[in-house]
């Protein structure tokens, strides 16, 4: 985290004593975290530790029951907050892509700009084409998702997330469903994005990615953030026993 952020700037995302339950299951326990503009934060942790849930609270796909979550100056759980406005500023990329199968690649990318921002069609198409260029598959514009490889689909999903010119990008295990030979092409796109200064929160176990571009790593277990630090810290001297055990398993 760059020092100049510390006092002068408000965090883009701020968790204050956030709790969440699914019924009786306490899945987020007292989350306190601040994420600043331009930061790349990698979230790691065992299955079921609440990584996805934490991510999905940020754009209101899940509700929190206690505490305060402020995103882009808006209190997410406040009844007066127009959640669609907040979501329009946040791109999200899922493990299983979730591209719209009945639309072409271009239509997938253009849908939100056309319907939410009411961008004129030719302008939306121009932006979508540029984004496809950026993720390296301009030739697939008129294809349907089912005609693409997994890696290509995920790159389209990233382009779709970027189409609204978001302030924040959320990634939930974007490479876990991919064949090994396709992981690199997706990570390369994400690294480029990180270097351009995009604010990113990435749930991933790709520690190579973390080492290269992450500003900070959060380790979650049992619904809490157990340990936080730079990627270097996690590679060289993790403190918590659970962190060490986990890292031994994935490295």
């Amino acid at each position: 985290m760059p020092d100049y952020n510390l006092n002068t700037e408000k965090p883009t995302i701020s968790f204050k004593q956030v709790h969440k339950w699914y019924g009786k299951l306490h899945v987020l326990k007292n989350i306190n975290e601040e994420i600043y503009s331009g930061e790349v934060v990698v979230v790691i942790g065992p299955s079921g530790s609440g990584k996805s849930t934490m991510l999905r609270c940020i754009n209101g796909l899940e509700n929190i029951q206690k505490g305060q979550l402020i995103v882009d100056g808006q209190e997410i759980n406040h009844p007066k907050t127009d959640i669609t406005k907040v979501r329009a500023e946040i791109g999200m990329v899922f493990q299983h892509f979730h591209l719209y199968p009945h639309m072409t690649v271009l239509e997938n990318i253009m849908l939100a700009p056309l319907k939410v921002r009411r961008t004129p069609k030719n302008e939306a198409e121009k932006v979508a084409s540029e984004l496809l260029e950026k993720v390296g598959i301009p030739e697939k514009a008129r294809s349907y998702p089912a005609q693409l490889s997994g890696g290509q689909q995920q790159r389209v999903a990233i382009a779709r997330g970027l189409a609204m010119h978001p302030k924040i990008m959320l990634f939930d295990e974007p490479t876990s469903a991919l064949d090994p030979e396709m992981i690199k092409e997706v990570l390369d796109v994400m690294k480029a994005l990180a270097r351009e200064g995009m604010t990113m929160i990435v749930v991933t176990h790709e520690m190579g990615f973390a080492r290269e571009v992450a500003d900070r790593v959060l380790f979650m277990d049992g619904g809490s953030i157990i340990e936080r630090g730079t990627p270097e810290h996690f590679f060289t001297n993790p403190v918590e026993e659970r962190t060490k055990t986990f890292l031994r398993q994935i490295l």
Binding site: G91, Y100, H102, L111, A112, A157, G161, A163
Partner: protein, 234 residues
């Protein structure tokens, strides 16, 4: 058995059969259109976020789904007018109320089956589609309209087609409330000529021709709706 067939009566009374066919068509097509619109709306409302909306839609569906159609027809035809003052009743009877009540009955009855098909179709679409659409900033309505329904429609067309066939066949029950549709007219020919076998054979063949036509039309629509997605299912 020494029944002498006389198929000529059908020719002599062709006017009645044709009039009956026209009424059956009017009744079926009107009810098909209305029940489709209402059924789709109901199917969506059954999945609404708002509990009250969901309960009302579910109560409607469960109630009319589980009542015999003929009772519903009798209710709309005999019972409903009673709650209106006499002048309104008179007006209703002067304005072909038997046809109107048959449309109401068939529409409401069939809309419940269509609502169930639509609900199942929507629920068959991967949750991730909805999440991706909402996450991109689309409203609930936009998500339904641009992302979920276009995918659900493919799943839903075959069961809805079956409901159209059922509705067309069920329209024959309208004869019990004096709608001069096809079955009614076949019965009229029987009463006039005692040629029941010929009259009802003719009606049967016309119904079969109708249902085959509907099936062919619907498979056309099905193929058309799948066009954009052919590669997906491949």
């Amino acid at each position: 058995m020494n029944y002498n067939f006389n198929w000529m009566v059908l020719w002599d009374y062709r006017e009645l059969l044709i009039q009956g066919l026209i009424i059956t068509l009017k009744l079926s097509i009107t009810s098909i259109i209305l029940s489709t619109v209402i059924g789709i709306i109901l199917g969506i409302l059954r999945l609404a976020k708002n509990l009250a909306v969901r309960l009302v839609a579910s109560a409607y569906v469960e109630f009319f789904l589980n009542t015999p159609l003929i009772i519903q027809l009798f209710f709309w035809y005999f019972a409903l007018p009673m709650i209106f003052p006499e002048p309104v009743q008179m007006w209703l009877w002067e304005h072909n109320y038997e046809f109107i009540s048959a449309v109401i009955g068939l529409t409401i009855y069939t809309s419940t089956f269509i609502a169930e098909a639509v609900r199942a179709g929507i629920q068959s679409i991967d949750k991730g589609q909805q999440e991706a659409a909402l996450a991109s900033g689309l409203s609930d309505f936009q998500t339904m309209w641009y992302v979920i329904l276009p995918q659900a429609i493919r799943v839903v067309i075959p069961p809805i087609c079956n409901q159209f066939l059922n509705l067309t066949k069920n329209s024959s029950l309208a004869m019990t409330i004096a709608v001069p549709e096809l079955t009614h007219q076949a019965q009229a020919i029987e009463a006039l000529t005692f040629r029941g076998f010929e009259a009802f054979t003719a009606a049967t063949l016309i119904y079969i021709a109708l249902t085959i036509t509907i099936s062919l039309l619907m498979s056309r629509i099905e193929r058309w709706s799948a066009k954009g997605q052919q590669i997906v299912t491949a």
